[in-house]
Symmetry: D3
Subunit: 68 residues, 6 copies
């Protein structure tokens, strides 16, 4: 499946922590670590676990820009 989201950044999962319904997944994309807040279901369905390869996928309209 190819998706329209402009940002698909490859990395390695460094942490998966599940809550009651929502999980946090951290992906090291080389230097920076990206945090994703997704459903527990998605974690199970994709078999996400520490050490696995994964992409952080972000729609361009969800990215803001900041300057110092």
């Amino acid at each position: 499946m190819k998706i329209s989201a402009r940002n698909q950044i490859k990395g390695r999962i460094v942490e998966v922590s599940k809550g009651a319904t929502t999980a946090h997944v951290r992906i090291d994309i080389g230097g920076a670590v990206v945090t994703a807040s997704i459903t527990n279901e998605a974690v199970d369905e994709l078999g996400l676990k520490e050490g696995g390869d994964a992409y952080a996928v972000i729609k361009a309209s969800d990215v803001m820009v900041a300057v110092d």
Copy 2:
């Protein structure tokens, strides 16, 4: 200002292209390039231009995870 968004990734702007109301800003975060879709107004107000330092800021709930 410190913001709650979990993802604040430093980089360098490599392209700013304005549309009628919406602009696309590309930030090289070291390896990957992140595309942000923001208002033309924000581009002007922050003085965003090619070559400038900037952060890509993304709320954790806007990040998805994908696997091959």
Copy 3:
């Protein structure tokens, strides 16, 4: 690529209309028509056109619920 987004609804593209930087793509998912606002770039890259098969992909945290 398998993605964490909970909603991946198959349908057929019934309209693609490009603006200056942002395009609107309408997908008939069988009864309802879903409108997506994505970048012109994504339209070109995925080769989206009227009559083509496509999925509407939506993160669960972006879905609201309403009642009459």
Copy 4:
């Protein structure tokens, strides 16, 4: 109340599961089932329960498009 969101798809609630602060509501829209992640509060306030009629409401800028 009429809202600007382009996508307002009528269906029937097939599951409501509450977490600590966040609930998942599944709406059968005729063929596909849409999952919404909303606050527990909203579930209570709207009286959402299995078997009830409801709309899945999604802003066009939150819809992505994918192809096989």
Copy 5:
């Protein structure tokens, strides 16, 4: 229609500016002015114009918090 979005703030429209596909609508909510980026279609369909009453509607998961 009652919607799950936690934030429904009443105000008065102070500006509507259309782009190629995307419009910006500014709503004075009493002190602060909120900017919404919505489709031109939605502007037409709801008959939004300067001076009209309107609500800014925002899902809780799309609100961030910042401190000085």
Copy 6:
């Protein structure tokens, strides 16, 4: 840090309630109260607590408009 988000509304925190991974923070912006759903981590990192000053920060593309 200056951010591109069009909406940065100053107020006072009136409630912070943490869940398993996700917290709800309510900010009184003068008349209206805005609810933000953010990570517990962000609450801790920014030291958010009842009575403190804070901004509700919202990207324009996440604001919808409604009329009666």
